[in-house]
């Protein structure tokens, strides 16, 4: 990926983060991003991010995983190696429910995990290019890419206008 230039404004307050984020969106800045140490409710709306399709993928894989689990449990206990347990029918769905549930959750969980790494362009041993360490602790950042949003001076001015002193440029 080619390097691109971003400008980040740092703040300590999650409410200010949402406020500045939504102002930036209203101002017309595109492809905004936010960095936060924990999920702040409502940041997708504030920054105008697109709805993630990860949940849909997880749901699909949940259904597939549950179906495969049912097939597998049914096949092992009724077809491949039938054992009479307490006189119950060989294909007893009641006994399979925990397995079906676990298989569904497992596949959905793994899918979510892999997808998040893929969408974040992250893989083991990658240099994470952390723009500031405190973002993993108690600081929030609204990130505005320079290419899509005019010149650096305007963006810096936008941040100062909304009371953010701590503004920095980065190459990522």
């Amino acid at each position: 990926m080619p390097e691109s230039r971003i400008i980040a404004g740092f703040m300590d307050d999650p409410e200010q983060f949402l406020e500045v984020g939504s102002r930036a969106r209203e101002h017309g800045y595109k492809n905004l991003d936010g960095v936060m140490p924990y999920p702040v409710h409502g940041f997708e709306e504030a920054l105008g991010l697109k709805k993630s399709r990860v949940p849909a993928a997880a749901k699909l894989m949940l259904v597939i995983g549950a179906g495969l689990g049912l097939l597998f449990a049914g096949w092992t206990s009724a077809v491949a190696w039938p054992i009479n347990v307490g006189g119950k029918p060989l294909f007893s769905w009641q006994a399979f429910i925990p397995i079906v549930f676990e298989c569904g959750v497992l596949l959905a969980g793994i899918t979510t995990f892999i997808l998040l790494f893929h969408l974040g362009r992250f893989y083991p041993a990658k240099d994470p290019k952390m723009i500031r360490e405190r973002l993993t602790d108690n600081q929030f950042a609204v990130v505005i890419p320079v290419e899509d949003n005019g010149n650096i001076e305007d963006i810096r001015e936008f941040f100062t206008k909304h009371g953010i002193e701590d503004v920095d440029e980065f190459e990522i």
Binding site: E15, G86, Q94, A95
Partner: protein, 391 residues
């Protein structure tokens, strides 16, 4: 906040509710002459259904106090209001105790086998009455203490009252866990004379909490549609309420399936004697309907975030959950009296209307006297601004 004051004194509703109550009394008395046992088990069903809603409201409020939750400050008073029926419940439980000899086989037959002999000490009419009186006295005491402290805070705005309610709520929740388990054993489990199961109380509790949440949602949305609670209960609060309903529907099906699967798997005489009458002779269709109404409906419908904050969706899902809860109690009670499936008829509907009328009258009386939002709570500002970050 606008329109959070007491409910308007609209006489029309009260007249309708009073008529419902009279219909219920009439059908109960008529039922006693036609089929006394049927009248009494209907009484038990309605009694337990409304007990679940009333206690569900109080448990909801107590959980919010115990966890110092801020998101629910504007909703909490609705839960406290649902509990205000309990004094009425004290009277109805007194009437229920008159029917013990009609309802419970341990009360009208002598012990005749191993299971009934081992329960003989515990299951006596006098001991039963003493236990129920103790449980209800305990709940009413704690409920009054919690609600009165909350009402006092409306006037004095003293933040220390919240701390007092927190302590009370923690004590109440611990005691409630034990007392409700034993009470549900007495009232419902002992109908099937051989049956004993340790998860039964938890199953009843899951239904209680789910139906309490559903009732709170219905009351909140109805009040909002009538112009109350404006700017007090907003989209974000409804969203959290919907999330709770969805979460507890999963809890309910988890407990329900745990009970069902273990009984089915182990196939022990004292447990399977509960399940066999309830999954044969037509009862199996009702059994299959329960998880659909109490779990699948809220789970699927409330899964998308859009639906979870849509008042109309939450309202109708809650109605479905309450129907499911009623049918669940019907399914737990009636197969002990009738082997073949019994359709719902005039007596069920009449007595439901009766209890609904009584319940509505008492709860409306509470809402007419007190503010719908606990205005003195120190967390009110946080709740209104949504600054709670879902804690």
């Amino acid at each position: 906040m606008k329109n959070i004051g007491p409910l308007d004194n609209n006489g029309r509703f009260d007249v309708v509710l009073a008529l419902f109550f009279l219909v219920g009394v009439a059908s109960f008395i008529a039922g006693l002459f036609v089929d006394a046992q049927r009248a009494w088990y209907n009484y038990l069903i309605e009694f337990f259904f409304f007990l679940s809603i009333a206690l569900g409201g109080l448990v909801f409020a107590a959980v919010q106090y115990a966890s110092s939750a801020a998101w629910s400050v504007t909703i909490r008073r609705i839960g406290e209001g649902l509990f205000s029926y309990l004094p009425g419940l004290a009277i109805t439980v007194a009437i229920l105790l008159l029917g013990v000899k009609e309802l419970y086989s341990w009360a009208y037959t002598a012990p005749h086998d191993y299971f009934t002999y081992t329960k003989e000490v515990y299951m006596t009419t006098l001991w039963f009455i003493v236990r129920e009186a103790f449980f209800f006295a305990l709940w009413i005491f704690f409920g009054f203490m919690i609600v009165n402290t909350s009402l006092k805070q409306d006037k004095t705005r003293n933040p220390r009252l919240t701390r007092r309610n927190k302590k009370l709520s923690i004590f109440f929740l611990i005691l409630f866990g034990y007392t409700f388990t034993f009470s549900s054993m007495d009232l419902l489990m002992s109908l099937q004379d051989h049956f004993y199961s340790t998860i039964f109380g938890v199953y009843c509790f899951s239904g209680l909490f789910l139906s309490g949440m559903a009732a709170i949602a219905i009351v909140v949305i109805t009040l909002k549609n009538r112009g109350y609670l404006q700017n007090a209960v907003e989209k974000k609060h409804l969203h959290d309420l919907g999330t709770w309903i969805m979460a507890f529907s999963v809890f309910m099906v988890y407990i329900g399936f745990s009970q069902y699967m273990l009984i089915w798997y182990a196939d022990l005489p004292h447990e399977i004697s509960y399940l066999i009458p309830r999954s044969s002779n037509g009862w199996q269709y009702l059994f299959a309907l329960l998880p659909l109404l109490k779990w699948l409906l809220p789970f699927i419908v409330l899964m998308p975030e859009k639906n979870r904050s849509n008042p109309r969706v939450i309202f109708w899902v809650s109605i479905g959950v309450l129907i499911g809860q009623w049918l669940d109690i019907y399914w737990m009670v009636v197969p002990s009296f009738s082997e073949s499936f019994r359709m719902i008829s005039w007596i069920e509907i009449g007595m439901f209307l009766g209890f609904f009328g009584l319940y509505g009258l008492v709860v409306r009386r509470f809402y007419k006297r007190h503010s719908l939002v606990s205005v003195g709570d120190p967390n009110l500002e946080t709740c209104l601004k949504g600054r709670y970050l879902h804690v």
